[in-house]
């Protein structure tokens, strides 16, 4: 519903990181792999600030080991917050038995997110625990934490190497989640050097074995700045299952406001 005033410490931290980034860039030769990894991540975040609000449709195609598919259709609205994580509203269209179910989330950079679920059959809004980061989202190979917005403070970093991926020069950076409820010990991320777009992520489980790989395709640029992948596939190496996300109808600057993200809007979201 209504967000409490944000702690100023967080604002300062983000600003400090953003301001210091260009300074660090001038002295790359002196940096440790940790500093280099942080610098790359700050630059990636910086390039994705200022988009204000978006609306999009998403198809989620779940595939089991035998190749059988099942489909979910979801609509997403997001509103950027200046000094905090984003606000988002997710509405489910398919499968039809969950049609009208909606999910409201106020993500925060360091403290736990605030999340509410609307159950249309009972007309009930339920505040839910946001501790469930590692659980699967709608039976897919995506965990809840894989679908939340990227915030610099959520990880510690280490630059590994440069590598070519999808025909692009890329940085390879290792990310260590700071949240103890994360299902991962680390993520290895490939970011192309030109636009800092994530090309691929390897996820390592709590036992540090390779669990999943997420590959991004079909990047389009919006408002001359913001890159969005229209197709991404998460493959689970341990179960042989995979999930593909197909985005369509991206809209930026639709004029969403804070008042589009409260319990009233959650109840009539569709």
């Amino acid at each position: 519903m209504l967000r409490l005033p944000n702690k100023p410490i967080k604002t300062l931290l983000v600003s400090a990181l953003l301001i210091s980034a260009p300074l660090l860039a001038t002295s790359t030769y002196a940096m440790t792999p940790e500093q280099r990894g942080l610098e790359i991540s700050i630059e990636a975040k910086k390039r994705d600030i200022g988009w204000k609000d978006t609306e999009t449709e998403m198809k989620m195609i779940l595939r089991n080991k035998q190749g059988q598919e099942s489909l979910r259709e979801i609509r997403l609205k997001s509103l950027e917050q200046d000094d905090d994580g984003d606000k988002s509203l997710t509405v489910f269209d398919k499968p039809r038995d969950v049609k009208g179910t909606a999910f409201l989330s106020f993500s925060h950079i360091q403290e736990a997110d605030d999340q509410w679920l609307y159950l249309p059959a009972l007309k009930r809004v339920k505040r839910i625990s946001s501790r469930n980061k590692s659980g699967p989202f709608m039976g897919s190979e995506f965990a809840f934490e894989d679908l939340t917005s990227f915030e610099v403070e959520k990880y510690n970093y280490k630059y590994l190497k440069d590598e070519t991926i999808n025909g692009l020069d890329a940085y390879v950076v290792e990310q260590y989640p700071t949240d103890k409820n994360s299902g991962y010990t680390r993520r290895v991320v490939w970011l192309d050097k030109e636009h800092y777009r994530v090309q691929k992520v390897d996820f390592y489980d709590r036992k540090n074995s390779l669990l999943k790989t997420l590959s991004f395709e079909e990047y389009n640029q919006y408002l001359g700045q913001y890159w969005r992948s229209h197709r991404s596939t998460m493959t689970n190496h341990q179960t042989g299952k995979s999930t593909t996300l197909v985005y369509s109808g991206y809209q930026f600057g639709v004029g969403l406001k804070d008042s589009d993200f409260n319990k009233n809007s959650l109840k009539r979201a569709r």
Partner: protein
């Protein structure tokens, strides 16, 4: 359905169809969805009361939803009729308008006009503070099925919370099982003989005001309801029960604290009517173990306690009762779920037990299997009349 309810529905329908936006032929989005279902019940014991049928019952139901929106989504109209046909109980065969409402959204306000369903509360085993809609009690024993309520609801969004005002012209009578229905008391409720405390009878204008807000980990709501008590006073007359609806004032509070994996829940009401004034409360917690035993499964544990100042009477469902539940969610592609719960009366040996399992099949089918067990030796307990109605229920739903 009462004449006033039908009249109200017709009025809302015609007013909406004549609304300027629709007349002007602006872009209107239309969506049709809904479900049909088949339900089979098997009772473990022979019926206890005269007139009740054998040990099986079939039933079909349909609930389509018609939805229009225009004005860029700032105006919408929802129409949800409901129909059930039951093999044995002619009263369980019934129709209702669950929703027929126009919602207009302003910048920091909403006006919702028509027949609607409104849910208040946070607890799982009993819904004390949920007071707006009448219970459609022929549907199920859990009291979660509701009849549509005609209303005008203005909702204001402020920094200090959401404030809702309700005007409810007209009252819906509770549905009751007929002679041929299982899961009823020994006496049949005479639904043709209804009396009211108010001289306006079922046309009394009920009002409610509710404030709700989120502060950090706490979600809370506080309200005052003034109008016809949804719970009737039933009095014995020969082999029937007569229905009397009183006026009441009710104050309610619900709070949920969401702290890490814990959901702490509390509801309380104070109800004041001519025949009674009392306090009741329900409180407890829900705790979820995420990803148990290195799997994707979640296990939730629920514990609640219910108390009522009236003590032991057969109209009170929880005067000193403990509820324990467990929820198993597989988090698989078919959304397989299990829920089991037990309600134990702490004052004597009486309990009710339920197990619910559900799973999606293909893209559009859902199958649920429920079991309900009631056990008591105490004739004063509310469960005494249904002690022979233990049952299994299979529900197959097709969504469209």
């Amino acid at each position: 359905m009462s004449a006033s309810f039908l009249k109200c529905s017709a009025l809302i329908g015609s007013a909406l169809l004549a609304s300027p936006a629709l007349m002007a032929g602006e872009a209107v989005d239309f969506e049709f969805s809904g479900k049909v279902g088949y339900e089979a019940r098997a009772f473990f014991n022979d019926a206890l009361h005269a007139g009740q049928p054998g040990n099986s019952n079939s039933s079909v139901f349909v609930e389509p939803e018609f939805y229009w929106q225009w004005n860029n989504g700032d105006d919408s109209l929802t129409f949800v009729p409901y129909l059930r046909a039951d093999e044995h109980d002619s009263r369980r065969s019934h129709a209702d308008i669950r929703e027929l409402a126009w919602i207009h959204v302003g910048d920091d306000w909403e006006l919702r006009t028509g027949i609607r369903k409104v849910f208040w509360g946070v607890t799982e085993f009993q819904h004390l503070v949920d007071v707006i809609n009448q219970t459609d009690s022929v549907e199920d024993t859990d009291g979660e099925d509701k009849l549509g309520q005609q209303m005008v609801n203005l909702s204001l969004v402020r920094d200090w919370g959401i404030l809702d005002f309700y005007l409810m012209p007209g009252f819906r009578e509770r549905t009751f099982a007929g002679t041929e229905g299982r899961l009823r008391g020994s006496l049949v409720v005479d639904t043709d003989n209804v009396s009211y405390e108010s001289s306006a009878e079922e046309n009394h204008l009920d009002t409610a005001i509710r404030w709700s807000h989120t502060v950090g980990d706490f979600d809370m709501g506080l309200y005052w309801f003034h109008g016809t008590n949804r719970d009737p006073v039933l009095t014995e007359s020969g082999s029937n029960l007569l229905i009397h609806y009183e006026q009441m004032d009710q104050f309610g509070l619900d709070v949920q604290a969401t702290i890490e994996d814990w959901l702490w829940k509390f509801e309380t009401i104070y109800r004041d009517s001519t025949s009674d004034s009392y306090v009741a409360l329900q409180g407890g917690f829900e705790y979820t173990f995420i990803g148990v035993m290195e799997t994707a499964m979640d296990v939730g544990i629920l514990l609640e306690y219910g108390w009522d100042s009236r003590g032991e009477t057969n109209t009170v469902s929880a005067q000193d009762d403990l509820y324990l539940g467990a929820r198993l969610t597989l988090n698989d592609a078919q959304s397989t779920e299990f829920l089991a719960g037990i309600g134990q009366d702490l004052d004597h040996s009486s309990y009710s037990l339920f197990v619910e399992a559900s799973r999606r099949f293909g893209a559009n089918w859902k199958v649920s299997l429920d079991a309900r067990i009631f056990d008591t030796d105490e004739s004063i307990d509310a469960l005494y009349a249904v002690r022979k109605d233990d049952m299994m229920q299979l529900t197959v739903e097709r969504y469209f």
